[in-house]
């Protein structure tokens, strides 16, 4: 029994205990304790800095041995996974679970789904060869389907849509693995690694499209981004936080294995895209950049806070891939670090939104407002979260985004840099919409009596916010993990310090930056209060409306159709592009099916079956 075995066993035990005791009141607290134990066990594996830790479990399928081991990359992702499970279970453990039960849902099913998600992800992260990777991949897909579907209703429908995507992605990956197997007769990482070195560019392209495409589906990379937002947003509260924080990153984990560990950035740069001047790396970087921009601007349009955040989840995945594709020390560290910073940010944001849903019963941005007076702590959590999401100091998200930007500028990719900045602009606009429509402006009459979120939900939210601020203030410890991951992937490690990174071409020290920021606020406060500054709170009806007298029953805060002017400018452009893309895809499928249908039905079927069989035989024997 190795330390990894302990971890996986406790994770499986969590699942079993949730199956047994999920119905009881203590289920939530039990789950929190068990995730805590898993976290400690993960810390003890030592996979981050030392040698990879193997599991004693090995299974053979068709003479193919499967085994599991943890290296720094697995450790990094597993740490976020268990952490997310811990905070989400904590959020669910108290009154949330009771309310969920009262609404006629089963908390047991929820806890089981969450535990299953954590377990399957831990299995996937430990995969030691392509076969165990594929099996882990399918397990994760089904586990997330379970978590999405437990809520029923719209969540169930969204989950079914997800299933279609996950199936096609899985099939593409399987096809790719079969191609590899026919070439090498093995799916071991070492053999695959040498295989990629020997293969011609055309074959690598095929594998990239099949396997990479399959992984990209899960990540929501363009053009496979349409399923994710609905599926994640409709999932019940903490489940949504978990999916948004880490599940969406499983695709990225697999892509890192494929693109960075197996093919390698150098090879990607050398591969030309036929008929263009782009290399494969540029192509992927541009796909990532478009994944940043387009979903972010779709988020801008959303009128449901959950959907708004879920769309951002897709967009932020683009930053991570973008940073990795730059491939230098700072860029890839930025991409990897963003997995962590964004994970804690998204979990906190969704928890805050679901706390508002818990109290008011709606996440509709047109039906809220002014809640800062009633839920100030939730407001604070959301504020910390959006500052981090928008990538502004002093929060954690700033550090990782800054690293991505800096590497793009330093490596001479100005257009990608502009694309990333355009994405950030969209983020800033939409998070402003989020906080304004929920917390600022006029408090509605029906929300007069709303109270602060219950303590059991508030504590994990505040814990995550503190983490967001602390990681922003002192990114050093977290960057040391990232540096270890980089070393294990064969990338140059980032030169980190306690406050940021050290670089002769321009480093970052958050301790100084935050200090100066706070000093700025301090000077401002000194001037204001030193000069006897007086402030006065006014009634919310004492507001300017073109000189009009306001009454409580008149809505003067128009959050409906927010950013109408901007939408007027950019709306038709991307909406048109999207319709075009979707139509083109459906038209292609319709055309192919019509052709096959025609051949099959009306021409001589036997002849075509024969011809296809001969062609297939010729292909396989060639």
């Amino acid at each position: 029994m190795t330390s990894l075995d302990h971890l996986l066993l406790v994770s499986a035990l969590t699942l079993a205990l949730m199956l047994l005791f999920g119905r009881t009141r203590i289920a939530g607290r039990l789950a929190v304790a068990l995730y805590g134990v898993q976290f400690l066990l993960l810390m003890q594996t030592g996979a981050l800095l030392g040698e990879p830790v193997a599991s004693s479990l090995t299974v053979s399928v068709l003479d193919l041995p499967m085994h599991w081991r943890y290296d720094a990359l697995s450790w990094f992702f597993a740490m976020i996974t268990i952490g997310a499970g811990f905070f989400c279970a904590w959020y669910a453990a108290g009154v949330w679970q009771e309310r969920y039960r009262e609404q006629g849902h089963s908390p047991r099913l929820f806890h089981v789904a969450l535990a299953a998600n954590v377990l399957t992800m831990l299995i996937l992260l430990g995969s030691g060869d392509l076969l165990s990777l594929f099996i882990g991949w399918e397990l994760v897909s089904w586990a997330s389907f379970l978590l999405m579907a437990v809520g029923g209703g719209p969540a169930g429908r969204a989950a079914l849509r997800y299933l279609v995507y996950a199936f096609s992605g899985g099939m593409a990956i399987l096809a790719g693995l079969m191609l590899i197997y026919t070439q090498t007769g093995s799916l071991e990482y070492t053999r695959v690694l040498t295989l990629f070195g020997e293969l011609s560019d055309a074959r690598v392209w095929t594998l990239l499209l099949l396997i990479g495409g399959g992984f990209a589906v899960k990540m929501g990379l363009l053009p496979f981004h349409l399923w994710q937002a609905a599926a994640y947003a409709e999932t019940p509260g903490p489940g949504s936080s978990f999916l948004g924080a880490i599940s969406a990153r499983m695709g990225l984990y697999a892509l890192i294995l494929l693109l960075v560990a197996m093919v390698g950035i150098g090879r990607l740069t050398a591969m030309e895209v036929p008929f263009t001047f782009l290399s494969a790396r540029d192509l992927i970087a541009w796909i990532a950049a478009l994944t940043v921009i387009i979903p972010t601007y779709i988020a801008l349009q959303q009128h449901d806070a959950r959907y708004l955040l879920a769309w951002h989840g897709i967009g932020q995945g683009g930053y991570m891939l973008l940073g990795l594709m730059v491939g230098n020390a700072v860029g890839s560290a930025g991409g990897l670090f963003h997995v962590f910073t964004y994970g804690i940010t998204q979990a906190a944001l969704l928890m805050a939104v679901f706390a508002v849903v818990y109290r008011t019963g709606t996440a509709d941005l047109n039906k809220l407002g002014g809640l800062v007076a009633r839920m100030p702590l939730t407001f604070l959590v959301l504020l910390f979260g959006i500052i981090s999401l928008a990538g502004l100091p002093p929060m954690a998200g700033f550090v990782s985004k800054w690293m991505v930007y800096r590497s793009l500028v330093a490596e001479g990719m100005p257009l990608l840099f502009v694309a990333a900045v355009v994405g950030t602009l969209g983020t800033i606009l939409s998070v402003y919409k989020l906080i304004h429509n929920i917390f600022l402006g006029q408090l509605r009459i029906e929300h007069e009596q709303v109270r602060e979120a219950p303590l059991s939900m508030l504590l994990p939210m505040l814990g995550l916010s503190t983490l967001i601020f602390l990681v922003g203030l002192m990114p050093g410890p977290a960057l040391s993990w990232v540096a270890a991951v980089q070393t294990s992937l064969g990338l140059p490690p980032v030169p980190y310090t306690l406050g940021g990174i050290e670089d002769p071409r321009g480093g970052l020290d958050m301790l100084w930056l935050v200090g100066i920021l706070m000093a700025g606020f301090g000077v401002g406060a000194l001037i204001f209060f030193g000069l006897g500054g007086k402030s006065k709170r006014v009634h919310q009806l004492d507001n300017y409306a073109g000189g009009h007298f306001l009454t409580a029953d008149v809505r003067y805060q128009y959050s409906d159709n927010f950013y109408a002017g901007l939408m007027h400018l950019i709306g038709p452009w991307y909406r048109g592009a999207f319709l075009w893309l979707e139509k083109a895809l459906t038209a292609t499928v319709a055309f192919i099916s019509a052709v096959t249908n025609g051949l099959y039905r009306y021409a001589q079927p036997a002849l075509f079956v024969l011809a296809t069989a001969v062609a297939l035989l010729a292909l396989t024997t060639a």
Partner: protein, 244 residues
Amino acid sequence: MTELIKTPRAGETLPVTAGKRTNPLANVFDELVRFAQSRSLFMLHYCTGCGAIELPPAMTSRFDMERLGIQPMVSPRQADILLVTGYVSVKTLKRVILTYEQMGSPKYVIGICSCTVNGGMYWQSYATAKKLNDYMPVDIYIAGCMPRPEAVIAGLRELMENIRQGKADSWKDYYRHYDHYLGHQQRLFGETWQTPTDVISEARHYGLFGPDTLGTHTALLEQHQKPLEALEMKVDIPELTARR
């Protein structure tokens, strides 16, 4: 500073109240603050009557009042000057007063057009307020039917000069003699007239409470005034408050 009821006339010397400090350094500081104030004026043009038409040329490239540091502002909370540009009907006057009370101190009122001075050609109209000065303290009147942009700019420069010299503090008058202004307002709008702003408590807040702040009219106001409490931010965590 405008005296009550009495409208300031051209050539009249106004009493100087500011700048009486003994510490010379404090004087220098006051001068500096007043200079800065006079050079950064944001105006809310509440365009009530025909005189408003002279503002676009005054603001745009031909006469360009921005070169003097005067810019338009969209909300009263951030504005320094309230421009009332012409006759004010009874209905409009309510809005003008509401807007004036929402402005932060120090604030200045400019009445443009003869109509704001004495009702102008609407003297006989039943629906028009005659003298703006009855309802709020006016710093500068710019007479004419209508005054040309040059006159508007001359008036604004006069105001700037007054601010620099510390003479333009009629806004304090509104707090010190609130009862007087409220009386005129009640005469026009009826006894139940009320704005959301609690001027009396504001007068206390700014230390401008005077013997004439309260009177018969404010007593009338307090009889029917519905108090508007500011929305308190409260941290009300159920578990913690229940245990207490």
